[in-house]
Subunit: 199 residues, 2 copies
């Protein structure tokens, strides 16, 4: 059943395809677009096409970039002997925000997940091994998420990397800063106890 | 501070301009666009530009349309002697969904709201008067929202229309179907009592 005029219906349908956007929100967004100036609507549309067209994967770390090598890999002041392995480009941003890490990254673009039919060949594992095999890498920090799939991926990679002369580390588990002990789950608390350090 | 590569940041910024979309959601939407095929991304962008370019206002009822006269006004089987006045194109869709109304509409595109500096000249009042003045209209149903601004607009229009030989009616107030008396507010309940009908 079509209620709005065809171009509006079409726009609503397009918005509805976005994740987490239902019919009502799609309507709201479509009407917002109609309220924009023609110039602003064009800017919006161009951003969509441009991003899709110009964004590719860094040939070194597989992060998103619009050039051959991303700005982090191209930065000669960074420590190229440490690679932090993350599942997603968003995780790179999260770690960069700490301003405490000056090594390089490797973006897997997913985690191994047999239940979703994602095996090692579906994520960027091969590229990581190539980087490590080329030498000069001292440490690999596994920074996949502390959930089942992230853990499994980290374990799998650690085993793959065992033959190389490289230290494989994992992010520390523990209670989040600003958190409350009483609200921490048992597993986190157990890990926090195990990982306790001298003050 | 820019974390993602420029085209991605630009796309995130564009999504962030949409109503109710914050930075995190904009990121999620942008990454979804990147995951689309180039063809789907183009379809999305084209829908935005097309909707903005081709959608205009029906010359009769001011509803959104991509032709000179909208499909409802052009439908000769509908009763042209009844006009239902609504604030927004979405309200037309809401009433059409009932499948109980076969008159025409008039879309005001807003309500009178002194607090937001919206006067009668900022909404499509003049066009309504022209329609009524041209004759053949028997009844005007005020279907603006039952809030302060919708009420004020309905009252204002009713007064404007008084000199014409036309019945001006208002949607019934009452408890919503499926609602519970105990949760109805006093004003609604008062209106429901006032509007009681013989069974």
């Amino acid at each position: 059943m079509q209620f709005f005029t065809a171009p509006v219906e079409h726009l609503i349908e397009q918005f509805q395809k976005l994740p987490g956007i239902g019919r009502k929100t799609a309507q709201r967004l479509a009407f917002f677009v109609l309220s924009l100036s023609e110039e602003d609507a064009n800017t919006f549309a161009t951003a969509v096409v441009d991003a899709k067209k110009s964004v590719k994967f860094c040939s070194v770390c597989q992060n998103l970039t619009d050039s051959e090598v991303c700005s982090i890999c191209a930065d000669k002041t960074r420590d190229a002997s440490v690679i932090c392995v993350v599942a997603d480009p968003k995780d790179v941003v999260a770690i960069e925000k700490t301003r405490e890490y000056d090594g390089l990254y490797h973006v897997l673009h997913g985690c191994i997940s047999p239940i979703n039919n994602i095996g090692p060949d579906d994520i960027r594992v091969k590229e990581l091994l190539t980087r490590v095999a080329e030498g000069d890498v001292r440490e690999i920090i596994m920074a996949t998420n502390p959930d089942t799939e992230g853990e499994a991926t980290a374990m799998y990679l650690a085993r793959l990397l065992a033959p190389f002369e490289v230290a494989v580390t994992r992010l520390a588990y523990g209670i989040p800063v600003g958190g409350h002990l009483e609200f921490a789950d048992e597993v986190t608390l157990t890990r926090a106890l195990e990982g306790r350090r001298e003050m």
